[in-house]
């Protein structure tokens, strides 16, 4: 019995073209896929705030910029002296108000410091200077507890606070005190 003939046909041209187009589309999508995710990975964002505080012409503020720093290691024969005009350890305050106006400063010249960790007190004598710009060396020293000053064109006035204290008889401990200054517009 004759075996049935096996027909070998040449590959169908239309089939090859169709498969080639599918393969081409596969590559296109693969490249686009990779490009899409590669492009998305390297982005960075950040957000910051811009701000401005507007005040009323009549308002006046007093801001402490630096505290007066006094340490036992600064003593010379039991006396600690911080120059308000020359010393970097001096306290610093900023008066903010209406540009060009005059203000009256009232401040204490002596203060009792109390030992917060034990017994004893110390007497602190202040020395104050001030200037209408942030320039300590140019500041004027004030010898009384009341001083009239003029704010700068930007409504500012800087005050530096130094002082003198005798710790030769002080008991060990941490002494604390608060410097008070009052400011008011001069009409």
């Amino acid at each position: 019995m004759k075996e049935p003939a096996v027909l070998h046909t040449r590959p169908d041209i239309a089939d090859c073209v169709e498969k080639w187009q599918w393969l081409r589309l596969f590559w296109i999508f693969t490249v686009l896929f990779i490009s899409y995710f590669a492009g998305q990975a390297q982005t960075t964002s950040i957000s910051i705030k811009a701000s401005a505080t507007v005040i009323d012409k009549k308002e006046i503020e007093l801001i402490t910029l630096n505290d007066l720093q006094i340490d036992e290691s600064m003593a010379d024969n039991g006396i600690i002296f911080v120059s308000s005009k020359l010393d970097a350890h001096a306290g610093k305050m900023l008066v903010k108000g209406r540009s060009g106006d005059q203000v009256l400063l009232n401040f204490q010249q002596e203060l009792i410091l109390y030992n917060t960790t034990g017994n004893g007190t110390l007497l602190f004598t202040y020395n104050i200077c001030g200037y209408n710009a942030d320039n300590q060396r140019a500041a004027e020293i004030y010898n009384t507890g009341e001083q009239k000053v003029t704010l700068s064109q930007t409504g500012e006035f800087y005050i530096w606070i130094g002082g003198r204290i005798d710790i030769s008889s002080a008991l060990p401990g941490h002494y604390d005190g608060e410097f008070t200054i009052e400011i008011e517009y001069v009409e």
Binding site: G39, A41, S51, A52, T53, G97, S99
Partner: protein, 195 residues
């Protein structure tokens, strides 16, 4: 067979535009570090701000905000900055506005420090909210051929672009007192030519 596949891929790829699509090649992240100034605070420039006053923070002012953008030195990046043209104060149900004009400059010459970069910063003309620049300044005018592809053992060179942010406000005369604020958004990405 393989050659046929490769040839087929090259034939079917769309023609590449003149500008290189850097995002395709990039595998490194972009790192933005903010300097010590965290906020564009106009009170840092002028402590007392009254109604009717104008305050300008310049590039050279310490109150200008600085960003260090570290990225692949061989690529281009696009920096987009968006901000409302005003700072707002909400009082009850009412919103009051202070006109705000941001400005920015950049340095992409590989400066090692913020101070050095500030001296050589290039200001961006007003009206533009985005720039596309090389991470490291190139002397040639046209983009160079595709950068070194990422491969095993290769460490891409990095460089830092410094971005400086500043601006000005014009406070209307009868502005209510209070804190006016707004947000500035900065978006950085490797440059792409995909529209």
């Amino acid at each position: 067979m393989m050659l046929g596949f490769v040839a087929g891929m090259l034939v079917t790829m769309p023609a590449v535009a003149q500008r290189i699509n850097f995002s395709t090649f990039a595998s490194d992240d972009i790192l933005i570090t903010q300097g010590s100034v965290q906020e564009l605070d106009f009170n840092q420039k002028q402590a007392v701000i009254l109604g009717g006053s104008n305050v300008n923070i310049l590039l050279t002012d310490p109150s200008a905000v600085v960003f260090a953008i570290e990225a692949n030195a061989e690529f281009d990046i696009t920096i987009e900055i968006t901000a409302d043209p005003w700072l707002e104060l909400l009082v009850g149900q009412s919103i009051y506005k202070i006109p705000f004009t941001p400005g920015f400059s950049y340095t992409n010459n590989g400066s090692l420090t913020e101070a050095q970069a500030k001296l050589q910063a290039v200001p961006v003309a007003s009206g533009f909210s985005g720039i596309t620049i090389p991470v490291f300044h190139r002397t040639g005018a046209a983009p160079t051929p595709p950068p070194t592809p990422v491969h095993a053992g290769y460490v891409a060179p990095k460089s830092t672009v410094y971005l400086f942010l500043y601006g000005s406000i014009a406070v209307p005369l009868n502005s209510p007192v209070g804190l006016y604020s707004g947000n500035i958004n900065i978006h950085v990405f490797y440059t792409t030519n995909i529209q």
